[in-house]
Symmetry: C2
Subunit: 139 residues, 2 copies
DNA sequence: ATCCTAGCTTAGACTTCGTCTAATGAAAGA
DNA sequence: TCTTTCATTAGACGAAGTCTAAGCTAGGAT
């Protein structure tokens, strides 16, 4: 049983087979999939699942705060179920693969007061970019 | 004369009236425009300018390393001509305003080796999020 | 100055990613 | 079990960006 599904119960979310499959697909992921990758994988278990339901469900999960929506390349969004722990992202410039990473301290402290332009600054996240092992060879 | 245009000369770039107008529009911007905002402003000086040329030119500027392509909202890309100085971005969660900011050190050093997953990590940028002075009041 | 050619520009078709619609289906409380 | 309300579906639609093929032009060669 997926941990994400358990959390969703607490939101009084109507549990349907489609939503269960989508949530479990997301939760089992070690990388952050795009909506279409989630559709593709979920369809292995439920072939009649529609694209609209995947998009609807992902948007609801984001609204509930149970999943993070990421966008680094300006193309497709990626979904990150790991919302509990503060983390940052490492992205492959070759294939767009996205991994969670952890840093040694909080980057918020790195922005001096005179660089804050009167903003109430609440969050800071770091995007690391490079090439993954596969794309390093492929070059 | 735009500083960006001067730099482009050094890349042996064929200078056309279209490219000049686009580069000057970009370079004069104090905020980071989307491609369509650039098209709109450039068309005030050159009404027959085509959308394809704006996109082509922006992509070439990015490839030449003279302009940064930004994407924070997963919608349209924004273009940042301020490529000379290492900087990061501060974004208002209320209105989406984007400002350049500077930090005290390089975040690349903050990613431990055992968090690099075999990637060749080349760059790191920080996105700070908060509320700008106007949006703090408006709440 | 003019010619030539590589490479630029253009309109509009096309692609990709995502949203919307309206009809049908099903979860879960009464 | 019934009923209501919400979820699901296929496909149309929309926004952002890319591609294509035809014509045009910047700038070096003569």
């Amino acid at each position: 049983m997926s941990d994400l599904v358990t959390r969703l119960r607490r939101h009084q979310w109507r549990m349907t087979p489609q939503r269960r499959v989508i949530a479990e697909t997301l939760d089992g992921a070690h990388v952050h999939y795009t909506a279409d990758e989630i559709l593709e994988r979920a369809c292995e278990r439920m072939p009649e699942l529609s694209r609209a339901t995947v998009y609807n469900t992902l948007n609801e999960l984001v609204a509930l705060g149970e999943v993070l929506e990421l966008n680094f390349d300006g193309r497709s969004k990626r979904y990150d179920p790991n919302v509990d722990h503060e983390h940052h992202h490492l992205i492959c410039d070759g294939c767009g693969a996205t991994k969670d990473v952890h840093t040694v301290a909080d980057p918020l402290d790195w922005l001096p007061g005179d660089e804050r332009h009167g903003f109430a600054v609440a969050k800071a996240s770091i995007t690391f970019r490079g090439r993954c092992p596969e794309c390093r060879e492929a070059r």
